[in-house]
Amino acid sequence: MDFTLSEEQTLLADSARRYVEQTYAYEARRAAVATGEAFGAARWAQMADLGWLALAVPEARGGLGAGAVDFALLVEQLGAAMVLEPLVPVVAAARALLAAGADDALIAAVMEGHARPVIAHGDLSAPYAATAERHGAGWRVSGAASLVLGGAAATHYVIGAGTTAGLGLFLVPADWPGLGRRDVRLTDDSLGADLTFPALELPFEALITADGGAAWREGLAWLQMGLHAEALGAMDKALWTTRDYVRTRRQFGTELATFQAVQHSMADMVLEIELARSILLRLLSTFDGDSFDEASLDQTHAERDRMLAAAKVHFAKAGFYVGAQAVQLHGGMGLTDDYVIGMIFKRLVLLRNLHGGPGAALERLALEQRRGEHLAAGQRQMAQEAL
């Protein structure tokens, strides 16, 4: 194992940090929210120009083939600014499409910034959002998906629908007749979408794969991992913003930073953040680079699912702690609408409770632990009897 960043990785993180510092101060985000647009078209074009949309696409498919670690490094920086552009949902959808064998033209359109597919995931604790049946020469797909991140900015939705053969993945243009979309304002001021499609009639070729289980999981894994990386950036931003505040704010004739109670509270913020970074790295260690080979996917999936659950539990706890402490240490300032700290807290609370929240992840881990231990106990028993 080697945690050292390559020169390219350092450059990538630095350039993302500079981009955010120069163009995405909190005032700029507020102004973007005030326009009512779901995302900035000019910014999206910039992100495509910078190669960020091609980063996680394998070289064989025309991308940069940089892999999950690079993607997380980039997204961490963007997360610090809580960018409104749906980079994480779109890249996650692209990963699902790649795994599903989507054609190069679509992937090229994503990398160029022209296509913005997102996964119509809905509730992650449910297996998938819809069902599909043959209808004439094509398909009829029925279902709904709520709280689709990036849904208001999407050009396409990747819908996972159960067929008699397995999980079919369908690519549906956002303006397709019969697709009901309601844009919803979320608590972090971003726009998502709720989708309803009681009877969507699709041509046969809307089906990308009839056996899309692994591709669906691939996409959702990238979505969750990306959101954790964003949360890490937001936590880090909260930490250093708070550090600067307690060094300047004076009470009782001295800076807040001189009080040990303040120092120790901030030390715990550091601890939560560095553990979050550690578990994110551990999660990243379970992501395959460019390989969509069945065997290696199967092998890593179980471990990746376990680490996704573990990361969810830790990020939920760490995000809330760091966000809440940042508000606490800012005093009244932390409760105002026009200051970044309150928004970071709101964003971290949103991320915490998304996708089943820490409870569902904890339940999954507990269940697995139970299975594992009962299995191990059986093995110990057999070993004992063999003696």
Binding site: D2, F3, L367
Partner: protein
């Protein structure tokens, strides 16, 4: 280049380690160390001797110093397999603290006299830092050493010296001058030297592991000094930093978590295994998550210290280098306590019975009921209240984090 994946060659290595342990770990030793009671130092020494025959007694040292030269992931695999089989923990004082210090700063003479017998399992270490009036505040220690001919003559008192009564050698931090930065030195002393008296302190679980060490004109050769005179404070800081890198107590925490799951699976509460109780299972899972994060943070720390070349590292955060020691110490120490506390909770009423350490070591059946794993559980949970106190109390570490990481 970042590489977070394990090497495919690791699997055959794991099988090799597993086979060796299965063939060579004495069953009675495994029994003693599987339970919460302190395994005797004699077990550690004997296991070290067995490993030495295979060239494996210093998993974390370079080959040139008699170590294995293993990669970080090989070291982790070795430790996992040892834990799995119930091998006694190796001498952490020697392997991770005083050993590396001797390698870095000791004279060639000292290295050749001390390191080979240590690797053969002939030396057990104790650490003599704390004094009655110098705990976390080590700079105020008063035990003094004065040169007389070829010897240092040492006078003073040390306290909380773990394992001194079972040690062959003690490394002391003593005063050889004034002030903190230039007034302290590090000396190795024979634990049976004339004038050195070891008085037991019976601890909270009614066992003898802690001691008071009285030094009354104790002599040790000047040649037993580690590095230069007056530089002891710097060495102690390096050593404590190293100690803290291991203070996440990954091997112990892994073992304790496994034990916790076993107890919870074997204990019936309301007619069904405690492990099947969602509330209790969730508590274990929370600790597991903390462990998974902490284990990877330890790897980041070790990777950072392995690549001191100055390149950017995943250890870096927000553009600056991270002092992981304090971070690992705080949460590792707290995790040890949380896991052992939950073990006691899992025992329920059986956690109220007093199990005898002496009977356990002697292999006698405990005359009280409870699951087979119960002896030693309460004892460990009580003793491990020390983890947040020793090696610089957690309060000190949090202040250090605020200072080093945040610049407060």
């Amino acid at each position: 280049m970042t590489n977070l994946r394990r090497d495919p060659a690791d699997e055959p290595f794991r099988q090799e380690v597993r086979a060796f342990i299965a063939a060579h770990l004495p069953p009675d030793m495994a029994r003693r160390s599987r339970q919460g009671f302190h395994a005797p130092r004699s077990d550690t020494r004997e296991w070290t001797r067995i490993l030495h025959a295979r060239g494996w007694s210093a998993p974390n040292w370079a080959v040139e110093h008699g170590g294995t030269g293993w990669t970080l992931s090989q070291q982790a695999i070795f430790e996992e397999e040892c834990t799995r089989a119930g091998a006694p923990l190796l001498d952490i004082f020697g392997l991770s603290m005083v050993g590396p210090l001797i390698i870095s700063f000791g004279s060639e003479d000292l290295k050749s006299r001390i390191l080979p017998p240590f690797l053969r399992g002939e030396i057990s270490w104790a650490q003599g830092f704390s004094e009655p009036n110098a705990g976390s505040d080590l700079g105020s220690l008063q035990t003094r050493a004065v040169v007389e001919g070829d010897d240092y003559v040492i006078n003073g008192r040390k306290i909380w010296t773990s394992g001194a009564h079972e040690a062959t050698h003690i490394f002391f931090l003593v005063r050889t001058g004034e002030g903190t930065r230039n007034g302290l030195s590090m000396l190795i002393v024979d634990a049976h030297a004339p004038g050195l008296a070891i008085r037991p302190i019976i601890d909270i679980r009614k066992e003898h592991s802690l001691n008071e060490v009285i030094l009354d004109d104790v002599r040790t050769p000047v040649a037993n000094r580690i590095g230069e005179e007056g530089k002891g404070w710097g060495y102690a800081k390096a050593l404590l930093e190293n100690e803290r890198a291991f203070a996440a107590e990954i091997p112990r925490n892994r073992q304790n978590l496994a034990t916790l799951r076993q107890i919870a699976a074997a204990t019936l509460r309301g007619g069904r295994p405690l492990l099947d109780n969602p509330l209790f299972a969730a508590k274990i899972a929370e600790l597991e998550v903390e462990f998974l994060a902490l284990e990877f943070m330890t790897l980041r720390a070790l990777s950072q210290s392995a690549s001191q070349s100055g390149g950017q590292s995943g250890g870096q955060s927000g553009g600056h280098r991270v002092d992981f020691g304090s971070l690992l110490k705080v949460r590792g120490a707290e995790l040890v306590q949380r896991i052992t506390q939950l073990q006691v909770e899992a025992l329920g009423d059986h956690g109220a019975y007093f199990y005898s350490h002496d009977a356990h070591i002697a292999g006698e059946p405990q005359p009280v009921p409870g699951p087979a794993l119960a002896p030693g559980i309460w004892s460990e949970a009580m003793y491990r209240r020390a983890t947040t106190i020793y090696g610089g109390a957690n309060e000190i570490q949090r202040t250090l984090i605020a200072k080093q990481y945040l610049g407060l």
